[in-house]
Point group: C2
Chain length 175, copies 2
């Protein structure tokens, strides 16, 4: 069981600065293109992460910890950022993500979770029973998955530009 709060936090606390280093100051040329209908641009990815900080990870963790009569999670709205990010700049979203993540990690640390609490269960709308430890691990993987997705959507801008090198660059043909 490697997904302790401390081990997971080492990644979770780095994501806001990583996204700022990668995307801060870039113009729409790099951050607006997506990979086709219903896919995320770099900008959309950041908005999606902001939504997760507000609506998903911590509300689900609180629901599990409370162990009340209703332990069923609200479904995740994968496209909430389409309206929530409207009118915002990338710089604003990066700031929001930073502040929300910092607050969430402070609350998480404050809980000083025991192994017993990490084993508490909630009910995922599709999967059924899941534990708080699995939720925490998923939060980390979700961060890293979106970092990889941002790298991929930006790389694809140069899919044709690389010429024959495309054969050596699998990121350019990954869905």
């Amino acid at each position: 069981m490697i997904a302790t709060v401390e081990h997971a936090t080492r990644i979770l606390e780095r994501t806001p600065a990583t996204l700022r280093a990668l995307l801060g100051g870039l113009t729409d040329e790099w951050t607006a293109p997506n990979e086709g209908p219903d896919t995320f641009s770099a900008f959309d990815n950041v908005g999606h992460l902001v939504h997760g900080e507000r609506a998903d990870w911590m509300p689900r963790a609180r629901l599990i910890l409370a162990q009340g009569a209703n332990r069923r999670f609200e479904p995740y709205d994968r496209f909430a950022q389409n309206h929530e990010s409207a009118g915002k700049s990338l710089a604003q979203l990066l700031d929001e993500f930073d502040a929300l993540r910092a607050g969430n990690l402070r609350e998480l640390q404050g809980w000083a979770l025991t192994n017993g609490q990490l084993a508490l269960e909630g009910e995922h709308p599709a999967f059924g029973t899941v534990t708080l430890r699995q939720l925490l691990a998923t939060w980390v993987v979700h961060d890293l998955g979106h970092l990889a997705q941002i790298a991929r959507v930006m790389a694809k801008q140069y899919r044709e530009e690389v010429g024959p090198w495309r054969a050596y660059l699998p990121i350019l043909d990954r869905p």
Copy 2:
């Protein structure tokens, strides 16, 4: 033709700080595991990028620009970091990468390349004729590909830890 020096540099100049934000201060627990035999850990990825700054991108660009009798690139040694990184810490590699990349970008800017120069050709050992513009675009995609690879190899530490969520996290089963 979007891969101009300026457009490409916006990504190339961000990679060192992005890697530092993502990896700086992490211990071996996160940075040493790889994805199996002959695959890269996060640490290996940074060493590989350091090698590329020294031995690949700029030497190839200079070879193309010189337009001498021999325009054939040296093959890229994908495993050079196995000996070159020996005895070095991740912090040292991040510093090296930062300094080498900054120097390379200064040299690249100093050339003030024209469209004519970007169309000059060299000879890739496997692909044959490639242009300087394609080399520049490949440099960018290579950076983003390794960023995605670092995110993936770290995410895979939690492949079992996420439980049923694995079905929603394609990064965990990507080769």
